[in-house]
Symmetry: C2
Subunit: 188 residues, 2 copies
């Protein structure tokens, strides 16, 4: 038998990646199970509420991990301008390296389900809240006034640009947008 909770973790990570690439309704449980080499019984043992719970936890997991990556990217930057560009570069690279299939790990599921499933909607809202907190914090550190409002602008622009980039199969928008955004922030 595999280690404690090992199967649960494997299923969850597989699900998170598939949801990110194909969305909620586009991802079948059969596919999740096949790719994580787990039987159906295990799924419903670890996630009694089925697909909905799996999606909510996937979104929460992706949200936590991305928030961490964002904080790291922002932390390394010498000033605000470099920081914002680094944020964009993170998404741009992820997109390019995955042949434009790995965009925002939350957006697709969020749009599909936020009107239909309250648990998933709440998980998505939480993820975005974490990111906004991280960005706001970084902006404040860089001396940006009204950092919360500017944070909303940065988060929105980034989300929109990542979506546009996926549709166009060209990450150029992300770089254009972050370059413009960077001008809102004082130099070091």
């Amino acid at each position: 038998m595999a280690g404690r909770g090992e199967t649960r973790e494997r299923v969850l990570r597989t699900a998170a990646e598939l949801f990110q690439r194909q969305g909620y309704h586009g991802t079948g449980l059969t596919q999740v199970l096949a790719e994580s080499r787990a039987p159906k019984g295990s799924l419903y043992f670890h996630f009694p509420d089925g697909k909905e719970q799996l999606a909510a936890e996937s979104v929460a997991l992706s949200g936590r991990e991305l928030a961490q990556a964002l904080r790291a990217a922002a932390g390394e930057a010498s000033d605000g301008r470099a920081g914002i560009v680094a944020l964009g570069e993170y998404f741009a690279r992820a997109l390019e390296e995955s042949d434009f299939s790995k965009g925002c790990p939350v957006a697709t599921v969020a749009l599909e389900t936020s009107a239909a499933s309250e648990p998933i909607r709440t998980a998505c809202e939480g993820a975005y809240g974490d990111w906004l907190d991280g960005i706001t914090e970084a902006l404040r550190g860089w001396g940006v006034p009204d950092s919360r409002d500017v944070g909303e602008l940065v988060l929105s622009s980034l989300q929109g640009a990542v979506m546009l980039a996926r549709v166009r199969r060209d990450a150029g928008v992300i770089r254009t947008v972050t370059a413009r955004l960077a001008e809102l922030v004082p130099r070091a």
Copy 2:
């Protein structure tokens, strides 16, 4: 028999609305047919390539109509600041009036399918292209330099903000974001 092409039109409009609310995979043909009171035979007569064609045409239709609405909203504005705010207000109201179920008519389908269906992806890209052209044109009219790049920023921010608003069930972000965006534009 109904007028020429009347059934086709009815099916297409119903599909466009359902795709906007529920996404591609979340919308069944059965539902489209039931709500547009059309039999399956008609669907495959008017749309021989099935669901994929229906989605591509729905996106194109929504794109055309929204581009028109955007141009109208921008045209009425006295200056750039008012224009950008009006753009945001258009989406904010649509969201609020539909209990946050009618967001961007393209985004959900775009994210779900752009990696899997080239015809749909192309249709989405076209819709976004039209909007960008409209916004860029308006910005140029308002005397904004580098209007194309700023247009990309405006489009991205708006898209991201509309998505966030749906998830939060609160259109506040849209207004916050457009207020910030408006500052990028010279006063009348």
